[in-house]
């Protein structure tokens, strides 16, 4: 069967050299597959990218903090030996207060709050870590299907059931409750400090079209904090910016024998007799392979590369209805000196800084996004990597990277007119916390979701490739008919953040996809035999 179709010199083509595509490539190559990864950009890494945005100043232009990289994958791919080095690990989170009464979260401990809040945070953190362990078991495998399940699915379900039972009655009851509710209520139940609540809430809404009061935001929080279950106490900074991580992934994939071709944008998935048989590049070149795996987001994959006409209409409808409304903009600043945040010890300037005074403030910022407006008082996650990494800017100079919310992809007035004004709002916000930062500014750049979509090819500029809402997560991700990494098109698979368990530079989607593809092929061989 394979011989008839294998007209190229590769058996597997992966569309997109984002980190999941590279992880998938590495595992498949490791398993003996001949893998070609095709990348539209001129370097691999996808949104794990470092870009010079001002002469001499480089920035992580997509993801900027590494919170969720799966340690098993890092180890199995030998990322360290392929050049991955950390400029800093286990960063603290500093929730900035305008008056300088900041609080600092370091793993399970928090300072700058009452003793009862500090104790409550400790309990909150440890319980979430236990929840994270349950999620870890679920994230690290192909999600099961509940009806017509295979032995493999049944095993996944048993494993999940067992890990839930092992939580004990109290934790299990709590998880059943909080799994579906909003971070606003949970934070209110635990804490008194508005600033602490806001810091917790930020982790529930970063990257999501949700406010703290939106149900599901606790799930968003747990998703973001999966790294805690793997032993991190905070995010890490990659030396040389996220691009270096992208390079390490690429080197690892190559190390196992995968080939990566950059500047090769895939235009179409080629079909023969309703089966995916290859891809055609924008250049017109056609490459054939038995197995095509798309690391592109589901909308790009199905709407652009495959095209609705090759899909069943009901599935088309599901693709169309898949929500990927990005709300996060990236702000990049080149600074003449290290900015001074009111009341902040300079030693903490390189930690993860949050600009979100209260949950209601975040909620109000989100309100605008619902109606296609940007926040009048945006909230931010800020990182100044140059505190830890001198390779990104000239000596003594700094770069600042911030995720700014909420900046809806489909801005009513359009980003052509809105961009400058929103950037100014973000700068004004920074100025309030770091008076004088405006004078230190050498250059600034705002990447709106529309820009991010263009730069990284992610629909809606959504870094999870699609909203992490419960109706698009876990069993359902990305949508019925395309879960479990396979698609309705024989020969076509998914491996990106749009698939289980979602985005955030974990690598799990890529690894799970590789396992699913291998399993699928061996099942196919059995059937053929």
């Amino acid at each position: 069967m394979t011989d008839a179709l294998n007209k190229g010199s590769y058996d597997t083509i992966i569309i997109g050299a984002g980190h999941n595509g590279l992880v998938c490539a590495a595992y498949l190559a490791k398993a003996g597959r001949k893998v070609l990864v095709l990348e539209a950009a001129s370097q691999p890494g996808g949104a794990a990218a470092t870009r010079e945005f001002h002469p001499g100043f480089r920035i992580s232009s997509g993801a900027h903090l590494l919170t969720q990289l799966n340690p098993g994958i890092a180890r199995e791919l030998g990322l360290a030996s392929h050049g991955l080095a950390y400029a800093a690990r286990d960063l603290k989170t500093v929730a900035l207060a305008e008056d300088g009464a900041h609080l600092v979260i370091d793993g399970a401990s928090v300072s700058g709050v009452s003793a009862s809040d500090a104790a409550a945070y400790g309990r909150f953190h440890t319980q979430n870590k236990r929840f994270g362990k349950v999620l870890d078991g679920f994230f690290s495998r192909r999600q099961p299907t509940l009806v017509d399940r295979s032995w493999d699915d049944a095993f996944s379900l048993l494993k999940l059931g067992w890990s839930l039972r092992r939580l004990g009655k109290d934790d299990m009851q709590d998880l059943m409750r909080v799994g579906l509710i909003n971070i606003y209520d949970v934070a209110n139940e635990h804490f008194d400090s508005e600033l602490l609540k806001a810091a917790v809430a930020m982790d529930g809404v970063l990257g999501s079209h949700m406010g703290p009061r939106s149900p599901n935001t606790v799930y968003g929080y747990l998703h973001r904090h999966i790294g805690d279950a793997w032993g991190n106490t905070g995010p890490a900074l990659v030396r040389g910016g996220m691009g270096a991580l992208g390079q390490a992934f690429a080197a690892a994939a190559r190390g196992f024998g995968a080939e990566i071709r950059c500047d090769s944008k895939v235009a179409l998935v080629e079909m023969q007799g309703c089966r995916a048989t290859g891809v055609t590049l924008e250049s017109g070149e056609t490459l054939l392979a038995d197995t095509i795996i798309s690391n592109a987001d589901p909308k790009t994959t199905f709407e652009k590369l495959v095209g609705h006409p090759s899909l069943d209409a009901g599935f088309s409808r599901r693709v169309h209805n898949f929500r990927s409304r990005g709300v996060s903009a990236k702000l990049h600043l080149a600074l003449d000196a290290l900015p001074e945040f009111t009341g902040l010890d300079g030693a903490l300037a390189g930690e993860r800084l949050l600009l979100a005074p209260t949950m209601d403030h975040i909620e109000r910022a989100f309100n605008h996004a619902k109606y296609g407006e940007y926040s009048q008082a945006p909230v931010m996650e800020v990182s100044i990597p140059t505190v830890h990494d001198d390779s990104l800017a000239p000596a003594g100079k700094h770069v600042l990277s911030a995720i700014v919310q909420f900046a809806p992809y489909a801005l009513g007035q359009g980003w052509d007119t809105g961009k400058q004004a929103f950037k100014q709002l973000a700068l004004d916000q920074l100025e309030q916390y770091a008076p004088g930062i405006g004078q230190q500014l050498l250059a600034s750049e705002l990447s709106t979701p529309v820009d991010l979509e263009r730069e990284f090819g992610m629909t809606g500029g959504h870094w999870h490739h699609g909203e992490i809402a419960l109706d698009q997560a876990l069993l359902m991700r990305p949508m019925p008919g395309a879960h479990q990494y396979s698609t309705p098109i024989p020969g076509l698979f998914l491996c990106g953040a749009g698939s289980h368990p979602g985005g955030g530079i974990m690598g799990l989607a890529g690894r799970n996809a590789a396992e699913a593809v291998i399993k699928h092929q061996s099942n196919g061989k059995e059937r053929a035999a």
Binding site: M271, C274, E303, G307, H308, P309, L311, D312, A313, G314
Partner: protein, 396 residues
């Protein structure tokens, strides 16, 4: 559709309503897709035999009619339908079904290929929602012309002569499933050699404003050829005799199914011959391939049942009295003199030599009687006269 003053009437008249109402002596009405239509005009037997013996006229204006145009209309329809729509050439009509992703039948209907890139889809059920979602990725327009087009089925052995009398010259040369147009009263009259009776017959399609002149011209032309209006009851018998299925009776439109598993695939409705796996992607293909590989759950059969008691709502039992299927439509067929039922059998039942019984209940003067009538599977419809296909059409 633009805003217009809201009409709060419960049911609507069809464009032929003044004529139909005048002729409906039984005053026996039902509501079809929001329109008032007669069950009977005078006597169901007279009406039925008008169709089988002379000409029966049925007002099918309430049929759902969509106009599908645009450069991708052929590709679009080919993706929606299980059959190869490219084989329906301009000027031809094709019978088809369309399915969900799961390979379950939404509805059946006819595609009129009016001209290049110009189609009309006629169906029992509305499907604008499904068609709309199916347009993703296609450059195609869909307009609902249900209310704009008046339609009559003119069926029976003298139907061709009637139309010729009306001045539709050359109509006898129209082949089955062919389309022809004629000028009528300053408008265009579209005639297709199609129908729901399994006999020689035509369907007439015209702008709703021309409905009454058309009716008058048709009945004037047919008077001596014994033309007669027919209601839905008579048509219902004719279609069972001809072995045609009906949405809502013989299957539940897939997206209206509430209980999982109650929908039917084309294979399960005896429509295997429509499904074309070689034409490229179409909605339901994966699921139907799987069904073909793994087997269907049901088999659709035409049953010839002993005795003369129609087997409506009957269970079909095996010789041990176990339920192995149920009747979806049934009628005593006066032309074939047969007691016919359409039935959905649990696999593997419904094979040619299976021993099966229909469990029939009937009431005579307050005494309920239970009959177990032997059934035999028929391979072909009980009514299928040569004149149905003969071209040129026979005169009488």
């Amino acid at each position: 559709m633009s805003l217009r003053p809201h009409d709060e009437r419960m049911v609507m008249p069809t464009p032929f309503a003044p004529r139909v109402a005048a002729l409906c002596q039984t005053n026996d009405w039902y509501t079809w897709a929001g329109y008032t239509t007669p069950n009977t005009f005078e006597e169901v037997g007279l009406e039925y035999f008008a169709m089988r013996n002379a000409t029966g006229v049925f007002d099918l204006s309430p049929m759902t009619k969509y106009r599908i145009t645009g450069p991708d209309s052929e590709a679009f329809l080919n993706r929606v339908m299980v059959r190869d729509v490219r084989k329906i050439k301009p000027g031809r009509v094709g019978y088809t079904v369309w399915c969900t992703d799961e390979g379950m039948v939404h509805d059946d209907g006819t595609i009129f290929h009016l001209a290049d890139g110009d189609y009309r889809l006629c169906a029992q059920e509305r499907c604008m929602d499904w068609l709309h979602w199916s347009t993703l990725g296609f450059d195609v327009d869909i307009a609902d012309e249900t209310a704009d087009i008046a339609a009559l089925a003119v069926q029976g052995p003298t139907s061709c002569a009637t139309l010729r009398n009306m001045g539709l010259s050359g109509i006898e040369n129209l082949k089955p499933f062919g389309i022809a147009t004629f000028p009528f009263n300053g408008a265009e009259l579209l005639v297709s050699r199609t129908g729901y009776t399994g006999d020689l017959g035509y369907e007439l399609w015209i702008d709703a404003g021309q409905a009454l002149p058309l009716w008058d011209a048709l009945f004037a032309a047919g008077r001596e050829l014994l033309i007669r209006p027919v209601g839905s009851e008579a048509l219902g018998i004719a279609r069972i005799e001809a072995g045609f299925i009906m949405a809502g009776e013989d299957f539940v439109p897939a997206e209206q199914v509430v209980r999982h598993g109650r929908a039917r695939s084309p294979f399960e409705l005896g429509l295997d011959w429509l499904v074309d796996f070689h034409k490229g992607p179409f909605t339901g293909r994966n699921a139907l391939l799987k069904e073909q590989r793994e087997g269907s759950r049901y088999r659709f059969v035409i049953l010839d049942i002993e005795g003369n008691k129609p087997a409506n709502h009957s269970f079909i039992l095996d010789k041990h009295g176990r339920t192995i299927g149920h009747v979806t439509s049934a009628a005593w067929c006066p032309t074939a003199k047969s007691n016919i039922a359409l039935a959905s059998m649990n696999m593997p039942w419904g094979r040619d030599d299976d021993e099966m019984y229909a469990e029939i209940y009937y009431n005579r003067e307050l005494a309920w009687t239970r009959l177990l009538s032997r059934c035999r599977v028929r391979r072909d419809p009980v009514f299928d006269p040569p004149r149905r296909r003969a071209t040129p059409a026979q005169n009488l």
